[in-house]
Amino acid sequence: MAKILIVGEVHNGELLEATLELVTLARNVGGELSSLVIGSGVAAVAEELSKKGGGKVLLADDAFLENYTVDAYTQVICKAIDAESPDLVLIPNTSSGWDVAGKLAAKLDTGIATDVIRIEEDGGDLVFIRRMFNAKFDARLRLAGSPRIATVQPGACEAFEGTEAGSVEALDVSGLESRTKFVELRQAPAGGHDLTKAEFVISGGRGLQKPENFEQLLKPLVEALGAQMGASRPVVDAGWLPHDYQVGTSGQIVSPKLYIAIGISGAIQHLVGMKNSNYIIAINKDADAPIFEVADLGVVADLFEIVPALTEAAVAAKS
């Protein structure tokens, strides 16, 4: 029977939902479960996780762990692995997850799969399913080595909702060291373009090809419909629009009545930012674009034909 170790994540003193998603995943795989909670003054979080299905919770509580550093977290996870000898280690695929996971796998010289969305059993072995090529394909991976490590995409599973007795055990975390020094946390400067409360958002992606097309093609449509303009990350990376137009994990999370995605493929980091919209329309020339999986209504066509026609129809409808 497999032994699974979940590396929990705490944000601002609270258990990250993704940790409970790992509980669901681990229970589906089956086996003996333990979890790890890392931080300073996080005993209550460990207690909470033990009651929410995390199994035996190891508490790594130390002033040195108040702020995340990759070195110290790697050392703590190694100590937990030494204590529990798991066959499988699950880590949320968050910004600290992708910082620490590769280092850990290299240190332990073992197999790892990142951004996993499912784990299946096949012929007595585990198969790790993840997206590749920016979600154009799914891939089935097999891992050698021990323990095997998987980072798991937040949102890929439902959070575990059961309750149980659970137990918490302190993990000895003496002797931690870090070459990296934490300096500070900086919030992104609040931009003036707030999309979080917008009723109607029309976003353009890399498919619009150049900045002029946002001005000459997208803006007339947005204005004719009285919507707000949004964008995918490459548009902002290229400097075509400011950061406060970006929708997604590293931008704004929106939930309008209507979201229209134009020339956007539908990468997970974008979907996270808009999939809770009440109604979604996608315009994309690629019928296989993942955006059509979350859209209610789709148009498979060249945006350079559809957008002008739509602007014209919108202007006509208002007059």
């Binding site: 550093t69 790892i112 990142t114 991976l141 070459r179 419909l225």
Partner: protein, 258 residues
């Protein structure tokens, strides 16, 4: 200051990808390739450090003969020399095998800084950087959007969730992986491309690096790639552009937004 930039060559962003007949990777035969976008920001950052002072920028890429073109592009942009690691045994290796190979490249060079993209646009693993740092025994930070060098250390901004930033300071030597958008990447000038022809480009096999095929034996095997299973998906509307536009306008009205 000596900087190593690791570049991966990946299929061009607009290439139409098909699954290869053995099902475990894409068909590469007729594809156009380019430098992985995430890595281009790493290269640009290195070239900026060079422009601002005194630095040697070395670029390395692992892959078949075609990656020479990307190395030449990097030399044309301003890198000083290139290393091409080419070996059949590397074809099926995994991120750890790549990291071990890159560690062997870096071993005797005493780089102050190693830079590469957060992930590659093909496999999207985001593993090579942190793995290489571990193999080299140096500190790292993954997913940076800003770096400021000072004597013996570098302060970086790591991109966290929701656009917030984690600022950390690392001692040199260290390894940083770059997030997209951190700078504006230059193009190779004509003059740069001409000069690049004279710059050194070393080709190395695993044996040249003191490694054997068993050192890069993969622990990760891609058994199969396939088009994602489709859910119910969107209702697709068809017709001429104006017919589609009319249908969309009706929908927008129905939602009470017009």
């Amino acid at each position: 200051m000596k900087i190593l930039v690791c570049l991966k060559q990946v299929p061009h962003k607009d290439a139409r990808l098909e699954v290869a007949s053995d099902g475990s990777w894409i068909e590469e035969g007729n594809l156009k390739f380019e430098i992985n976008e995430y890595d281009t920001y790493a290269l640009e950052e290195a070239l900026r450090i060079k422009d601002a002072g005194d630095a040697e920028v070395v670029v390395v890429s692992i892959g078949p003969e075609r990656v020479v073109q990307s190395l030449r592009t990097a030399l044309g942009m301003g890198a000083d020399r290139a290393i091409h690691v080419c070996d059949d045994a590397l074809e099926k290796t995994d991120s750890l095998g790549v990291a071990k190979t890159l560690a062997a490249v870096a071993k005797d060079e005493e780089f102050d800084l190693v830079l590469m993209g957060l992930m590659s646009d093909d496999a999207n693993y985001a593993l090579t950087g942190p793995m290489l740092a571990e193999r080299l025994g140096i500190a790292h930070a993954a997913g940076i959007v800003k770096e400021t060098l000072s004597d013996g250390s570098v302060e970086v901004e790591r991109e966290l969730e929701g656009g917030s930033l984690g600022v950390v300071s690392l001692p040199l030597p260290c390894l940083l992986t770059t997030q997209t958008g951190m700078n504006e990447v230059r193009y190779a000038s004509l003059k740069g491309i001409m000069q690049a022809k004279k710059k050194p480009l070393d080709k190395k096999s695993l044996a040249d690096l003191g490694l054997t095929a068993s050192d890069v034996e993969p622990k990760v095997t891609v058994e199969k790639i396939y088009a994602p299973l489709k859910g119910e998906g969107a209702e697709i509307i068809e017709g001429s552009a104006s017919e589609v536009a009319d249908k969309l306008i009706s929908k927008i009205k129905e939602l009470g937004l017009l």
